[in-house]
Amino acid sequence: MRFNAVSRPKTPQIDMTPMVDMAFLLVTFFLLATTFKTGEVVGIQMPLSVAGLNLPMTDLLTISVDREGRAYLSMATPQARRAWLQRHGQVNQIAYTEEEYRAFEMLSGFGVPMTQLRALLQTPPEQRKRFRQAGIPIKGDKNELADWVVLARATIPRLRVAVKADAHTPYKKVEDVINTLTDLNVLRFTLITQPKKMSDDAGY
């Protein structure tokens, strides 16, 4: 008799193995391809442009300028950051501790005057967001931005400088940064933009 067969409908069995294979393949791919979004020191909405120059991932110093014109610096790789800070310590006779070096290596960018840098480095990472970064002084009696750029160039011979300014930054603020660079004979640099299609209108 077939009573048993009726009472228990067949559950279709799906072989999940290939799906698992594929999923893990993709996981592996993304795992290897990922460069984690480093916490941006400041949110910047880049201007739109049709320019499509690819920037290098290493040997790059980025000067970010936010809407209010505060300047921030970020160096591409941790090794370069350490060497950069070492040089900064030598020149300014500051003995940074190993912890501070390590904190600087992890720091994606900073925008504080030199006097506050140690305080920033000693702040625990999770509280750093709340640290009010006033921007690197450009005007005034000491152009610290120029000092940092000089040190960076001395640390990395093939350094490329990029200016990443917010689309809404007044030109005069960007001009201050550009003038700082040209005064240091950094005449070739990159303006970081966000790609747009050419057919788009001005994009406002």
């Binding site: 979004k37 320019a51 690819n54 030109y171 001009e175 970081i192 001005a202």
Partner: protein
């Protein structure tokens, strides 16, 4: 998770005449799939696939005012076009020498300044463009103008500060400018 197949008895019965038979072991893969896709989603979202793009800007060697004045004079008035980027996305331009009658208004749309540059490039031998951003115009304005240089293949252009004469003339023409 790992369980001995519940159906081996029926299987066995069906394959009774068959050759060797492996013990039917199936693994419940569902949770593994869940986890794999969870990881997949996480990595997909956290990956920055795009690399930063940019435009190259080459500034002239900073030189003394005298050489610059000579350079400016070396450019014939007929070859020059001056763009003045003003605050609030306003754009004015003039060809040749600075005169009130030569100043025209334009905009950043493709049918605005791009068309102007296109005719200018078409009519001029060795065109030179001077980009003069007002201190209070936005960075986007400058980038858009630099973009237009690339689009119209203008190789010779320079960024310069807007002069007091130009500002005065613009104000005389009724263009509202923020106080300096």
């Amino acid at each position: 998770m790992l369980d001995i197949d519940e159906i081996p008895s029926s299987n066995r019965r069906r394959r009774l005449g068959g050759v060797k038979e492996k013990p039917g072991i199936t693994t419940d893969m569902n949770s593994m799939v869940d986890m794999a896709f969870l990881l997949l989603t996480f990595f997909m979202l956290s990956t920055t696939m795009y690399r930063p793009r940019g435009m190259e800007l080459v500034m002239p060697v900073p030189d003394d005012a005298q050489t610059r004045a000579q350079e400016v004079q070396a450019v014939k008035a007929s070859q020059a076009l001056t763009l003045m980027a003003l605050p609030d996305d306003r754009l004015y331009y003039y060809r040749g020498l600075l005169e009130a009658a030569a100043i025209r208004a334009s905009n950043y749309n493709p049918d605005g300044i791009r068309a102007v540059l296109k005719t200018f490039v078409g009519e001029t031998d060795k065109p030179v463009v001077l980009i003069k951003p007002h201190p209070d115009c936005t960075f986007q304005n400058l980038v858009t103008l630099l973009d237009e240089m690339n689009i119209n293949r203008i190789g010779r252009y320079a960024i310069d500060g807007i002069s007091q004469d130009e500002l005065t003339l613009l104000q005389q023409l009724g263009v509202h400018l923020p106080p300096q």
